[in-house]
Symmetry: C2
Subunit: 324 residues, 2 copies
């Protein structure tokens, strides 16, 4: 998979709100770009991916002809044979039918190699190979963002299972508990995912009249959704509803991660994602403390670590896919 030394590799992290791209020479990040994800269909999303790769190459002072390969982290299902993708509720134009993302990007960039993998799996790949996970051969990465994704490295291999391994976000922390976006009840994601936290906050505030500064802070930030920054600001201001929401997220993460640890006895658990990175090491410490009472071997807990690459985990991991 390694590229010739003079060739660049690009890694693209395609998200519902942004497209984060990095360009690597050997293993060094030499350029990057961050563009908004269009909400106007698949063709525009593909064009923006291509623009972000070109912009990253330009920021590295290089030329598009120097590009050897592109890796893409995609938030949905992937048909590896066809290079097509779909089932991505958060990316406009990719919600249902298969889109030939791989061939389209390859063609627009002069026929370079393109590999696509799941966004969460590339993020754990990034942290494992280039970030906080480097010392370990057994680790769980949990990415707390809009949803809660997870990826497992076991015995020095990224676990695939039958294609769906790592779904810690949809382990059930409370039977018949909070409704999750997936339709089930009581999933970790229903408590720790930003989207479901916002749903709960809107219900408590607008339907039940409970006070919160969360939406005022959101509007002040010129947002129409509760972002990780909104939550962090509301926490800093001591907003009680936000404190409660984050308490529940910490509780749910502690329980789910302890259960994963009891089953797998891993060396480390990395907590990242938009919200995890934004709230940072104090949040990770709280999650570790919440896990402790549930650990079967509390005298030998895993190391709970924040990410090292932060919001570049996915893009760097996508580049690792193609030898970057």
């Amino acid at each position: 998979m390694a590229q010739p030394a003079e060739k660049l590799t690009a890694g693209v992290d395609l998200g519902g709100t942004k497209i984060q791209t990095v360009v690597l020479r050997a293993e060094e990040v030499v350029g990057s770009a961050r563009l908004e994800t269009p909400r106007s269909g698949a063709a525009d999303v593909i064009a923006t991916i291509v623009d972000s790769v070109k912009a990253s190459i330009a920021s590295a002072g290089a030329r598009t002809a120097d590009l050897g390969a592109v890796g893409v982290g995609f938030p949905g299902t992937i048909d590896f044979a066809a290079g097509s993708v779909g089932n991505s509720p958060n990316v406009h134009g990719f919600e249902t039918e298969a889109v030939e993302l791989g061939p389209a990007v390859a063609k627009a960039l002069g026929g370079v190699e393109v590999r696509i993998d799941n966004d969460v799996r590339v993020a754990i790949l990034g942290e494992w190979k280039r970030g906080a996970g480097r010392p370990y051969q057994d680790l769980l990465g949990v990415f707390v963002g809009t949803g809660v994704g997870g990826g497992l490295v076991l015995g020095n291999e990224l676990r695939e299972g039958r294609g769906a391994a790592g779904e810690i976000g949809h382990t059930v922390v409370k039977d018949a508990g909070r409704r999750c976006g997936c339709g089930k009840r009581g999933c970790l994601e229903a408590y720790a995912g930003r989207a479901r936290m916002e749903v709960m906050a809107r219900r408590w505030h607008y339907d039940k009249g409970r006070p919160t500064e969360l939406f005022r802070i959101m509007r002040r930030r010129n947002r129409d959704r509760v972002t990780s920054g909104t939550i962090a600001d509301a926490l800093d201001q001591g907003d009680r509803m936000t404190i409660k929401l984050v308490d529940r997220a910490v509780w749910a993460l502690g329980l789910a991660l302890a259960n994963a640890q009891n089953l797998l006895d891993m060396e480390a658990i990395i907590v990242g994602g938009g919200l995890g990175d934004r709230l940072g090491p104090p949040f990770v410490r709280r999650v570790a403390e919440a896990a402790m009472p549930h650990l079967h071997v509390p005298e030998r807990p895993p190391r709970f670590l924040p990410t090292e690459l932060g919001d570049l985990s996915g893009a760097v991991g996508a580049a690792v896919l193609v030898g970057g």
Copy 2:
């Protein structure tokens, strides 16, 4: 690890109530013995292990001199370097301090090789190599008996972690739920382990006066503990308390196994152990049905299977340890 073809291998499953031993020639079980576990200290337990091996060899029409190696499944912690064992609350004489079980058994049997591993890990080894798990490279074995043990085969390897992998019995199915024997609350074992089911039944019956036939059936069977047979008989008679206890066990198993599946995306889950085997395929089907609503990919569930070796899983797996 393989023995010369003419040599026999023995596998010993040391339990709190019985010592089950098998003798294998090549991969065939040719002899077996089942003795009660003494309650009079470590020396007597070791002597009975040796007796059970000799009795198994005799039942195979062979001589002790034909024995090449012995594997032992031990319900506690193992110091692999020293061959010593301990931390086994259910085996008299092995509760706390280290006992040099391996060297003692080896010496008493003329210096044969002895290997010891965790009882649950050898049981999953037995089912994986010689039982229901043969077709699979990714599976979870859950053994529902006095407690609830588990073992994982991932990527065609028995997972060890840092020595404590597979503890599905101590994953938490209900935060702040039923007290478990381990001291935590809400563990799977607190709901599905026979010992905790008995604790609940005694409390409901003797402290709270709720009716049940369970203890009458127990006494009729000349037991002072609620065995798997007692539970099975009470279920057959429609005893409502027992039905409730088993319903909760099924619920807890469904939730814990679904969570393990969501995380690991395995091919198969084998449900065995004293109670699992006694209640058999209908119980396994109920557990599978209870897991379904919690599966993240319900259209591709794992296969839920009963054991093939039944109460010989552990002894056969112990023999597999030494190439049997």
